[in-house]
């Protein structure tokens, strides 16, 4: 680093630069007349507090024989102690030895007693703070698997730990959702008497009859397959929407339950993601301090026991090299000529078109699979063979899983060709995989909607009488619920199958077959991003399906419990520590955002069903209404007049527009505030630089003056 142009390095002595303090201590040379530059700088108050270690302990960097220096510094330290005691610190936040903290706490307690009559507000604030701390500690002890997560973090790193932490969080969400569903949907059903059976074929409804219950004896394989596909005896059960009777109180609580669960989940996810966002948004600009971060936070202190130190060191080296490479790439990018730029961008556009084409093909495949299922189900020999019928039923799920299995590796191959920096490549791969997973689900739902509403054309022949395609799908809500149920079951089965039939055999193979091949086959790593996206996809399926299949959150709780133990066991038995560190900060910031995206996407089909599509006539709690939402205005009209007026006011524009305006104003204000803080920080940084230059200049002058006096 070259010295600043305002002063020359030679004026500082033979060593040059700011090595004077250390040099003075390391090699005490014969004292020059008057104080030296280093001793002057060491006497500055800022230098004293920097080395302060706590009362009663020798300050930092102080050698035991420097008694007279010690005397002076201890005075400075005592003053610093006084200063610290005046600020109301919690004792445990002070970087002092335990005895000093004990003394501090006792003196604080004495001060409090001496003050005695504090204002009531202060006392209440104290009690509130204490009770908040106690509740937080209580909630922390209630968390399960704390020990397991620590063990995983210690052996496999913070990235893998964040996956299991997310799984635990989703489990909590599902437990809360199941409890709410039980209270608001199942209890009201049985409170007012047993629900009736399906409407018989002789009812006067012109929208057809609907009786999915099996008649006569059924073979056991058929029963098993119906369990897997949600048909026959499961179809008219509390598992699906169609079973619930058309009672008004049940209808209201059924509808409100969905909104309550959605709101509760939104609040919990926001609460969880706020801490991650706060940490990442605080950085003025991540690119400015990445080296410092990577060097000082490189080693995960939580690693313990027998850890592959060599592997960790290679990881860190890889990270740092990647960072340097990226700097090099950026430098090269700045030097590119126009022709090279054009070529690069044309390659990028081409690759993006390829990605879009692949995604389009995947979506069309899912759409086609769903349409084809309906046609195949009408073929006679499919009806006769239960196993074939099951496979045909599962065709959309199989297609979605196949697409999710095949395309992400293709994305990983394409990404390096675009010549972006490594971190940006990872972001692109993740984004594309997310789009693939969530959009394929949407395409499935879209094709279902197509079948139900005859392509949105309410004047089509099939949909004219009842508003939906009653001939093919008499109870469309149950049908959607069944699809989501099948997706859930298939996801669980694929997870178990991959563990049992791919991961464990690979481990066995590597044990039986030593050498390079065995090592290559047997080295499996826990791919954190892929697994997390799988979790988010599963949760989105449940969010979509819980309106149509009220017991789905309960099933998902069981599924996630099984998944936790399965993944944990697979991790410890077959996986080796990751060769690329996955930063936990990315996980804490990125994945809650994607979870929110999943929640947002899942509201689209649910709201569409509630507001746009007419409910089925032969089944469900809304069967006599024109739309599912219309139950709410009907219930409101039975309340008192003032409540009605208030609730109707909430829906008018006179309420919505001012609310929107106020929210926009608040947002603009917050943005402006953040902007001004950023500018303030830059300004303060500049001032620190100037102050340091002033300090050095003055110290230099002081030394020059005193040596001139000494010479005289």
């Amino acid at each position: 680093m070259e010295g600043s142009p305002t002063w020359e390095p030679e004026a500082w002595g033979s060593s040059g630069g700011w090595l004077a303090p250390r040099e003075a201590r390391a090699a005490p040379y014969p004292p020059a007349p008057g104080p030296s530059l280093s001793s002057v700088l060491n006497e500055l108050p800022s230098a004293a507090t920097l080395r302060y270690r706590g009362p009663g302990v020798l300050p930092w960097g102080m050698l035991e024989e420097e008694d007279e220096d010690g005397g002076r510094s201890i005075q400075a330290l005592a003053e610093a102690t006084q200063k610290e005691l005046q600020e109301p610190h919690a004792s445990r936040e002070l970087p002092w030895p335990m005895q000093a903290r004990r003394v501090h706490r006792q003196s604080q307690a004495r001060d409090q007693v001496a003050l005695g009559s504090r204002s009531r507000v202060a006392r209440w604030a104290l009690v509130l703070g204490w009770s908040k701390e106690k509740t937080q500690e209580g909630l922390r002890t209630l968390q399960p698997w704390v020990w397991t997560l620590k063990r995983i973090g210690g052996q496999f790193g913070a990235g893998t730990e964040s996956y299991f932490s997310l799984l635990r969080f989703l489990l909590l969400l599902n437990v809360l959702a199941s409890v709410l569903k039980l209270c608001m949907t199942l209890l009201p059903t049985w409170v007012e008497g047993d629900p009736p059976g399906p409407p018989g074929p002789d009812t006067s409804s012109h929208c057809g009859s609907y009786d999915p219950r099996p008649q006569g004896l059924i073979a056991f394989p058929t029963q098993l397959f119906s369990l897997l596909s949600g048909e026959s005896f499961l179809e008219w059960s509390s598992l699906f929407y169609g079973f619930y009777p058309p009672r008004p109180h049940l209808a209201v609580s059924y509808l409100c339950c969905v909104f309550v669960i959605g709101l509760l989940h939104l609040l919990l996810i926001l609460h969880r993601s706020v801490s991650g966002l706060k940490q990442t948004l605080l950085a003025e600009s991540g690119a400015l301090t990445s080296y410092s971060h990577r060097v000082f936070s490189a080693w995960d202190f939580g690693l313990c026991g027998d850890v592959h130190v060599r592997l960790r060191q290679r990881n860190i080296l890889f990270d740092l090299q990647v960072e340097l490479e990226e700097a090099e790439l950026r430098r090269q990018a700045a030097l590119r000529t126009l022709g090279q730029h054009a070529k690069l961008w044309s390659v990028r556009v081409l690759l993006n078109l390829l990605v879009l084409a692949l995604l389009g093909a995947a979506f069309y495949g899912v759409y086609w699979a769903t349409e084809f299922t309906v046609q195949l189900q009408e073929v006679s020999y499919v009806q006769q063979l239960p196993l074939l019928k099951l496979v045909v039923n599962y065709l959309p799920s199989i297609f979605i899983s196949a697409v999710n299995f095949v395309l992400p590796p293709v994305f990983k191959l394409i990404a390096p060709l675009e010549r972006y920096t490594r971190s940006r490549q990872i972001v692109f791969i993740l984004l594309r995989t997310i789009v693939l997973r969530l959009a394929s689900l949407l395409v499935l739902l879209f094709s279902l909607w197509n079948q139900i509403t005859c392509g949105g054309n309410s004047e089509a022949e099939d949909c004219k009488t009842c508003g939906y395609n009653y001939k093919e799908i008499p109870c469309w809500e149950t049908r959607v619920g069944q699809e989501m149920y099948k997706l859930l079951i298939f996801d669980l089965l694929t997870g178990v199958a991959i563990s049992l039939f791919i991961q464990f055999p690979r481990k066995l193979f590597s044990a039986l077959c030593p050498g390079a091949l065995g090592r290559m086959v047997g080295t499996q790593e826990f791919q954190v991003p892929d697994e997390v996206l799988g979790l988010i996809y599963a949760q989105t399926v449940v969010w979509v399906g819980s309106f149509f299949c009220p017991l789905l959150p309960l099933l998902n709780t069981v599924k996630f419990l099984l998944l936790f133990y399965l993944k944990k066991h697979t991790l410890f038995s077959t996986c080796s520590p990751a060769s690329r560190t996955f930063r936990a900060s990315t996980a804490n910031f990125f994945f809650p955002l994607v979870l929110l995206l999943g929640l947002a996407i899942s509201t689209v089909p649910v709201l569409c069903s509630i507001f746009l599509i007419p409910p089925s006539k032969p089944c469900g709690p809304f069967r006599e209404l024109s739309s599912i939402w219309s139950q709410i205005p009907i219930s409101i009209s039975s309340l008192s007049q003032t409540t009605q007026n208030f609730l109707f006011f909430l829906g008018t524009q006179a309420f919505a527009v001012p609310l929107l305006l106020i929210s926009s104003v608040l947002m603009v204000y917050t943005l402006a505030l953040a902007n001004s803080y950023g500018r303030l920080i830059s300004e303060l940084k500049r001032q620190i630089k100037t102050a340091a230059q002033d300090k050095v200049f003055l110290a230099q002058r002081a030394v020059a003056l005193s040596s001139a006096q000494g010479a005289l």
């Binding site: 680093m1 600043s4 630069g17 700011w18 303090p21 250390r22 201590r25 230098a47 920097l50 080395r51 960097g61 004792s91 445990r92 002070l94 970087p95 030895p97 335990m98 706490r105 922390r140 968390q143 399960p144 620590k150 063990r151 913070a158 950085a283 400015l288 301090t289 990445s290 080296y291 410092s292 971060h293 060097v295 000082f296 936070s297 490189a298 995960d300 202190f301 939580g302 690693l303 313990c304 026991g305 027998d306 850890v307 130190v309 060191q313 290679r314 860190i316 080296l317 740092l320 340097l324 700097a327 930063r583 900060s585 804490n588 910031f589 620190i688 630089k689 102050a691 340091a692 050095v696």
Partner: protein, 219 residues
């Protein structure tokens, strides 16, 4: 692993001591059932409460460390008077593979040995609930190898040498990284990082809090 009991609330109740075969078991059995004293641990309730107030550790964690301390210290001594050498603490599983274990021991020990309260203080800084300012303060002390109150080039080079294997590394990489770090974080251009500059850099690092954590102190 006796410390693994997140659901167990009454861990000061007597437990079968037969699991321990070491010499200190006899000492503990002599503890007797006094008011506020447990059969298994030598710690009094009041001491436990005080440690909970003075550190960021939970009750379970303090008892776990107490366990470990008793296992390592010479038998027959009261835990408040016993000391551990720096080597003993360095060989704990939590610190055994840490490249900075000698610095950690030097920062947290007093007069070259660890008393029980020193070990608690160390665990408190590394615990999950510790506040960022405390962690940053001690991280600065740990990374200041030559103890001059600043992290200068020499310290940075030592840090990088400890993090990477010397086989994989070249001089260029070392100087490159050092200069990058200094150019980013050194605000007053004195070729060193003072505490405030370090604090400013680390306060914005989202990974620092996550990586400067030690969960388990057993052995």
């Amino acid at each position: 692993m006796e410390c693994r009991s997140p659901w167990q609330r009454d861990d000061l109740v007597s437990q079968p001591v037969s699991r321990r075969g070491q010499g200190s078991a006899a000492n503990r059995e002599k503890g007797g059932v006094g008011m506020g004293q447990c059969l298994r641990y030598q710690m009094h309730w009041e001491d436990l409460e005080e440690y909970q107030a003075l550190t960021f550790l939970t009750r379970n964690e303090i008892l776990c460390i107490h366990d470990t301390f008793l296992k390592l210290c010479p038998p027959g001594k009261y835990y408040k008077e016993a000391t551990l050498t720096m080597d003993q603490v360095s060989s704990l599983p939590a610190l055994r593979v840490n490249p900075f274990r000698d610095r950690i021991c030097r920062v947290f020990a007093h007069n070259g040995v660890f008393s029980f309260e020193d070990v608690l203080g160390m665990a408190s800084v590394f615990s999950e609930q510790a506040c960022p300012s405390l962690k940053i303060e001690y991280a600065f002390r740990i990374y200041d190898f030559n103890e001059n109150g600043f992290i200068d080039e020499e310290d940075l080079q030592e840090i990088i040498l400890r993090l990477l294997n010397s086989d994989d590394m070249s001089e260029d990489l070392l100087t490159d990284l050092t200069s990058h770090v200094l150019s980013e974080s050194d605000l007053d251009n004195d070729n060193m990082l003072s505490f405030s500059e370090f604090e400013h850099a680390m306060a914005k690092s989202p990974d620092f809090m996550n990586s400067f954590r030690i969960h388990f102190w057993g052995c």
